[in-house]
Symmetry: C2
Amino acid sequence: MSNFNNRNLFHLLNQRVRYLSKEINSRLLDHGLYASQWSIIFCLEKYGPMTQTAIWKYLNVEAPTVTRTLSRMEKSGWVVRKQGEDKRERVIELTKEARQKFTQIQQATDQVEREMVACLSAEEKEQLYLLLKKLGTDSN
Amino acid sequence: MSNFNNRNLFHLLNQRVRYLSKEINSRLLDHGLYASQWSIIFCLEKYGPMTQTAIWKYLNVEAPTVTRTLSRMEKSGWVVRKQGEDKRERVIELTKEARQKFTQIQQATDQVEREMVACLSAEEKEQLYLLLKKLGTDSN
DNA sequence: TGATTTTATTTACCTAGGTAAATATCGAGG
DNA sequence: CCTCGATATTTACCTAGGTAAATAAAATCA
């Protein structure tokens, strides 16, 4: 109703994502980590050592993005990059320090998300999650 | 159900925003425009000439972001920046060319959004829109 | 009025994401 | 075996977003 038009979707999604990543970034500051780096750590903790290709396909970003982020993360001691059997690929794994800090950091980011959805009822949360999952299903 | 946990919200929102902006960017290529630049044009067409502060507050981004984007847009002939009565501020307005191209470009971006939500029913679209509007309402 | 604080914009420096093109290695066919 | 296409990663170059600090003009106030 009122001035709803399709264009607002992009605008709205953008604002919500920006708010959320800004907030997550600020909570991760103490841990010396950024939101995108955390996404990679989460992925590696969940699936174990992975090639870079597996990571960028999982995160739905392009290969150079992951190359850059991983090289920063290697410098700051979160991951190591080993050569795979296939010498073209690099297998990424978490360092011991990263694995040790995982749970504590996860609690911090979970907290941010809980606060973000605090204004929604349980059904609304579920609904939002389902709609976002469904969104764009035909096109990508 | 299944492996729903809060963290997925950030992940999901990120993926959807990336898909949408990638798609919008690719359709705007012909017009020599980027999605963020289009957001500013949309805002200026809707509200008329504005100061930079009004723009970044509307878009919910920081001031330097708008400074940069506007300077690119001025270079490519979309906007002009005039000094305001208050000599600290700059008043931004669309050029005649920008106003002339507006409708055509809007049709292109509307098309992308329609395709994105094509997998949702009318009620689902409305629901998604309302949930996104509500999201984070307490915290920001 | 003169000093101080606030506000608008900019600059410098960071991360993140994208495309296009360059490498390097792998795999399949001839 | 050797060439050629496919695949994994990287490099160079772009836009976008953020913070912190600099600048300039306005506003406040003693």
